[in-house]
């Protein structure tokens, strides 16, 4: 679906899906829904490991948090995991206030999050 390509960009690095959010502010209903659909599509692969980068994202709402929780649960059900990276300090504060920093594993940078999966696979 064309609008989904506008919201996130997905690449593969050694089996880990790296997802970058293209829109700096996800609010429109279509964008939030497209964002959720794009991530949920990744969860259809059993054991899928996903790193979601928030690089460039300066604003979000609880609608996006709800989508992240949904994706997190779906991935966990199939033996996969969602890890987050590149979160702006303002956005990180939102995660901390809502205690979602306890639910998600959050890394400073995308490559650190990706490497954490690789390290676990080797270990």
């Amino acid at each position: 679906m064309p609008e989904e390509a506008d919201v996130v960009q997905v690449t593969d690095r050694s089996g880990v899906k790296l997802v970058r959010i293209i829109s700096s502010s996800i609010l429109r209903e279509g964008e939030v829904e497209s964002f959720g659909r794009s991530l949920l599509a990744l969860a259809e692969v059993p054991g899928q490991r996903v790193v979601l980068s928030f690089l460039g994202v300066q604003h979000l709402t609880s609608l996006v948090l709800g989508k992240l929780i949904h994706v997190h649960k779906r991935l966990a059900e199939s033996g996969g995991e969602l890890r987050l990276a590149d979160i702006d300090p303002h956005i990180f504060e939102v995660f901390a206030i809502t205690h979602l920093d306890k639910l998600f594993r959050i890394y400073e940078r995308e490559d650190e999050a990706s490497a954490s999966f690789a390290a676990e696979a080797e270990g």
């Binding site: 429109r28 300066q58 709402t61 709800g66 205690h99």
Partner: protein
């Protein structure tokens, strides 16, 4: 979108807008509020806090109050001054008891996808009150309080 400023005698008049129940409609009003905040030199932290609380309030009104019914409207009233911003958001839903909204931060609720909007509004604004049986939320943010959110 209906727009008017009912209190033109005031240096910082109230602005009233009636929004359709469409998330896209939020952006235009949000842009107006952000412009006014910038005009009176609210810093980046404050702008982030106010924008987040405003969006959460309007999204709640549309999704939970009006249940995305396009026949229902959202009434916005706001005023920006150098001292504070006051925002009122009223929907045309059935109302609710904010005291009955479960705490999204306790472990058993952490994976529930909903319930964080009110919490974020309370964290980032100085006062958040409900009127009209929950159909209207009234929020104030004082400039001197700074922009950071507060953990519950």
């Amino acid at each position: 979108m209906l727009s008017r400023s009912p209190d033109t005698d005031n240096a910082y008049p109230w602005t009233e807008k009636v929004l359709p129940t469409q998330l896209e409609a939020i952006r235009e009003v949000e842009g107006d509020i952000m412009d006014r905040l910038a005009q009176v030199d609210y810093d980046e932290d404050l702008q982030f806090a106010i924008r987040l609380a405003f969006e959460e309030a309007v999204v709640n009104a549309m999704k939970h109050g009006n249940r995305m019914d396009p026949a229902r409207k959202v009434l916005l009233t706001y005023r920006v001054s150098p001292e504070c911003i006051e925002i009122r958001v009223r929907d045309e839903g059935e109302g609710f008891d904010p005291g009955c909204v479960p705490d999204p931060t306790i472990d058993e609720n952490l994976q529930r996808p909903c319930g964080r909007g009110i919490m974020l509004m309370r964290s980032y604004m100085d006062t958040v009150q409900y009127a009209c049986r929950g159909k209207e939320v009234q929020m104030v943010k004082f400039r001197r309080s700074g922009g950071g959110g507060t953990k519950p």
